[in-house]
Symmetry: C2
DNA sequence: CGACTGCTTGATGTTGCTCAACGTGCGTGG
DNA sequence: CCACGCACGTTGAGCAACATCAAGCAGTCG
């Protein structure tokens, strides 16, 4: 844990780049930076929280306990704010966040954050834009999840990792099959089967957690057809 | 269509109640109020939009065209803002809104809205709170939808109408079976069957669109068990 | 070495989707 | 006015998709 100087931080959020030096210093003096290893819990559902969480670098999963089992709601890449929803709307976290790759995270006092929203309109506006964009993505993924069937959803997930996260058709899955299943809403066993099927069909190549997308067009088709 | 006086409006949003008289007049002068009948489209996916939409009174559905068919994302009761996500994040609507009961809707120039966010921190903060609360509800409903099976989801929907919308165990369904199916993510036929089953089991009573919940505890149980 | 975790595969059951047929009420146009 | 199409609702039968159960394998850690 360190007490960072936000003003010299090179990994500022869209919103934070609207702050002036004085405001950044204020934020820095009420802010703690922590590093996390894969698997480390950043914050947990139902715990009290008085911080806004900003992921400066790394990859995290947002997840919550559903009626049956764990559900991964979103896989979020830095830079992103995490705690806005549960924190500003309520005092207790309604979901958990866990690092799935090495992460650098800032915990910001939410009173300061609150004050900055009040005093800096550009900052507030950027936050609203970000929240809006996330809401829209949530809408789309919710629709896909409720209408596509599992191999369509699995194709979606693979393309998501390739395009949005790693910008490469070869990547190391940062999550286990079990987590992947929780993400696309199926069982661990099915997940395994589908990946095996894709592999056998020559659509992807699997070497444990290393995935290579061979026939991207086919994967796109599977994703589209549902 | 009328040119309303926002300052004397008795149905102000949480956010708008933070505005001062001058700001309200400014909003009023860039605002148009329109009434909608059930079934009327308020705005449509893929259409261009330069307005923020505020539902002053009534009930609306937010829906979008998925890979297979229509999906109802949210059923929203007044007062609520609708267009924030697609409008501030982008120029085109990424989903549609349709009245499902008589509605009174204000279309507000989004530039003015933008300006108000910049100049009035309380207003911006309220919007962020509202967006956060909606995002959280979206998370929960997404988890439920992906883990519960259909009759659990159907129970959820019935309880939602009874508790959140009508505050009564007897109510008139404002939507068709088809729409209800799109809402909980199943087929029209299944929807019909499940309602018939609930009816036969004495859990609810159906008279066309009039629903009476008889055994709420049982419905709660079905909802919880998934 | 044994216990454990993560992963895979096959066999078996269940859920719920699809298809098809049919009834109803409503509005339109002949 | 009736015939017709159309949206909505209901019901039954059959089947595909998917979950669950069960067993087994490889790698890892104490």
């Amino acid at each position: 844990m360190s007490n960072p100087l936000c003003s010299v931080c090179t990994l500022k959020s869209n919103a934070a780049s609207k702050l002036n030096p004085g405001e950044l210093d204020l934020m820095g003096s009420h802010c703690a930076e922590v590093d996390f290893e894969p698997g480390d819990i950043i914050f947990k559902q139902n715990s009290l929280s008085s911080n806004v969480v900003y992921v400066k670098a790394g990859l995290v999963k947002i997840h919550m306990l559903g009626p049956i089992k764990e559900k991964i709601l979103r896989i979020a890449k830095a830079p992103t704010y995490l705690c806005l929803p549960s924190n500003l709307g309520d005092k207790v976290n309604h979901f958990s966040a866990t690092a799935i790759e090495k992460c650098s995270v800032c915990f910001i006092d939410s009173r300061i954050f609150h004050d900055l929203i009040h005093t800096n309109g550009d900052f507030a506006f950027q936050l609203i834009m970000d929240l809006s964009r996330i809401e829209l993505m949530q809408f789309i993924s919710c629709t896909n999840q409720s209408q596509k069937q599992v191999n369509g959803r699995c194709a979606d997930a693979l393309l998501f990792f390739a395009k949005d996260i790693y910008q490469s058709n070869t990547f190391n899955l940062p999550v286990s099959r079990n987590e992947l299943a929780d993400y696309i809403g199926t069982s661990r066993e099915n997940m395994s089967r589908i990946l095996a099927d894709f592999n056998n069909a020559g659509i992807i190549e699997i070497d444990s957690r290393k995935i290579t997308i061979i026939k991207e067009d086919l994967l796109q088709q599977i994703s589209a057809k549902g």
